[in-house]
């Protein structure tokens, strides 16, 4: 048991990342995702999976063909080492908790059921839009930190498909110029992207017992609400800032300990302004390096936060901070230390990944090197 330092409350155990599986527009595996985000080349291309005639936008970051979501999820779960080890038949290992973030429509149930049949894992589905997966990670971390579980698997999946493309296009949320430009003047919005991701979170004893090696540690987490609007973020970013402070409190760390921010940065006008305000609140003297990797891999909706957690872990392990691609012109209301042009060397410290969603939902996750 490795207690983490907390300013208040009961002692907690370390939450380790024991495995990651990824499918994204950059291909299969964490290495492909890491290489893609560090190359800084957006993966957006005209959508071939379905027709986009009649829509305002026509691009997304997709993999080849029309893969089935359940197949992708089973693949990333295997890659992450998530299915139960048959040698671990004693509680609590026998009852690996499995949280699965999916779009909350009728398709979620059949996908979850098929994944359960093929993996032996029994999903509890999170449907809370762009914070679905990070909320699941926070819940998983809390379960492990308090000793309720030794091992929790979190997975998430979204593959670009006609219905969500159509409704985001109708809501004028998609960038017509084919690029995502977080925190830049002239940004037009988001573009969608494929992702299936699985992350295994474990206590130190569970990881040691199976002879695994930690990829990273989840040092802090928090979930908050804005209490402001159906879909707009609080313009001062107060809820998001509170989430970051909450994650820092759990980590027993100060803002100065954060060496990189993987921003939500969807490229939307209001969302980016609110996020910039939140980061200025947390870092009044200036932010650490910031980038939104949505600028290259797109917005994977319910899977976005887990894809960005994977990208953050990959960046920390590579020792390099990915660029905020698509950026053109300074927005005076987004005064952030953006990583532009080329990756920067990663400084020692924690990495913060933040997400925000409709309903004023916010999450913050702090990632420490293993």
């Amino acid at each position: 048991m490795t207690p983490t330092a907390l300013r208040n409350g009961p002692p907690r155990r370390a939450v380790l990342v024991g495995g990651i599986g990824v499918r994204s527009a950059f291909g299969a595996g964490l290495a492909a995702l890491t290489d893609g985000v560090l190359a800084g080349r957006p993966a957006f291309a005209p959508v071939e999976r379905f027709g986009t005639a009649g829509h305002r936008a026509d691009r997304a970051a997709t993999g080849p063909g029309s893969p089935r979501l359940a197949d992708q999820l089973v693949a990333v779960l295997a890659e992450a080492g998530a299915p139960s080890d048959p040698t671990e038949q004693q509680p609590p290992y026998r009852t690996t908790e499995f949280m699965l973030a999916l779009h909350g429509d009728r398709r979620a149930g059949p996908v979850a059921a098929e994944v359960a049949d093929r993996t032996g894992l029994h999903p509890r589905v999170y449907t809370g839009a762009c914070v679905a997966a990070s909320t699941a990670v926070a819940d998983a971390a809390a379960l492990i930190a308090t000793g309720r579980r030794e091992r929790v698997v979190v997975a998430a999946g979204y593959l670009v498909e006609p219905d969500t493309f159509a409704v985001f296009d109708a809501g004028r949320a998609l960038a017509r110029d084919g690029a995502v430009r977080p925190f830049s003047l002239g940004r037009q919005g988001m573009l969608l992207g494929d992702a299936a991701v699985a992350v295994v979170l474990e206590s130190a004893p569970a990881l040691q017992r199976r002879g695994g090696r930690a990829l990273a540690r989840i040092a802090g987490w928090a979930r908050t609400g804005d209490a402001f609007h159906v879909c707009r973020p609080h313009p001062a970013g107060t809820g998001l800032a509170r989430a970051v402070h909450g994650a820092l409190a759990r980590a027993g760390a100060a803002p100065e300990a954060i060496g990189y921010v993987n921003a939500n940065g969807a490229g939307s006008k209001l969302g980016d302004l609110a996020e910039a305000a939140a980061l200025r609140t947390v870092f009044p003297a200036g932010t650490p390096p910031v980038s939104s990797t949505k600028s290259v891999h797109g917005h994977a909706l319910e899977a976005s936060a887990l894809l960005e957690l994977a990208a953050t872990v990959g960046a920390l392990r590579a020792g390099a901070l990915p660029v905020n691609a698509g950026w053109q012109t300074p927005d005076p209301n987004c005064p952030l230390d953006l990583v532009l042009d080329r990756p920067r060397p990663a400084a020692p410290g924690l990495a913060l990944t933040v997400n925000a969603a409709f309903g004023g939902a916010n999450t913050a996750l702090l990632v420490a090197p293993a």
Binding site: G225, C231, H245, A249, T281, T329
Partner: protein
């Protein structure tokens, strides 16, 4: 595409532009619960034959969001009277629905299948967080906002998730709403606290 290297200097020093630091309120403090959560208030829809759902401005085509909002409204009203929930401790909103907003999903699927224009308002209600944002803003509840689907099959599962949020420190109480779009539509709400 990225900008020329000479430009970034303009955005690397935020200090001169930084506004006064707003108060973001107290942050999470983990705690240990001594026992099961108490039910402070409860509500359901329908309550009686002929029970009606008030419409919510901006939500169209589907009864799902009005169902969630009205059931939450009745529960919160039973505890706090009219909105906002003055004096309420930090309250999480947790919505559990096994099949989600089928009315919105069906409207969207019909439009795309027939190549019709998609109503822009469907964008805002295309995920279950939106109606929770309506409830949170109306009642001024700034705890976590969670939406859950299949796998949270009974009341005990939801009480466990509510207890986790409170023990973990992000909320002091939790409004749990379960909603199923039928026919017949039905929903329940409970306000849970230590």
């Amino acid at each position: 595409m990225t900008a020329p290297t000479s430009v970034p200097a303009l955005v690397t020093d935020p200090a001169p532009l930084a506004p006064p630091v707003p108060d973001v309120g107290p942050v999470a403090v983990p705690r240990l619960l001594a026992g099961p959560l108490r039910v402070l208030a409860r509500a359901r829809w329908p309550e009686r034959p002929g029970d009606e759902l008030p419409a919510i401005a901006g939500f169209v085509e589907s009864a799902f969001s009005p169902l969630v909002a009205e059931t939450a409204e009745r529960c919160l009203h039973a505890r706090y009277g009219p909105p906002p929930a003055a004096g309420a401790p930090r309250t999480a909103l947790l919505l559990a629905s096994p099949s989600g907003d089928t009315g919105t999903a069906d409207a969207l699927a019909r439009a795309t299948a027939h190549g019709q224009r998609v109503a822009p308002l469907l964008f805002f209600q295309s995920n279950p967080n939106a109606v929770l944002g309506h409830v949170a803003a109306r009642w001024q509840l700034d705890g976590p906002v969670l939406a859950l689907g299949p796998g949270f099959d009974d009341e005990r599962d939801l009480h466990e998730r509510a207890a986790l949020l409170i023990e973990d420190g992000d909320a002091e109480q939790v409004l749990v709403v379960t909603a199923v779009q039928g026919p017949p539509d039905h929903a329940t709400a409970v306000l849970l606290a230590p």
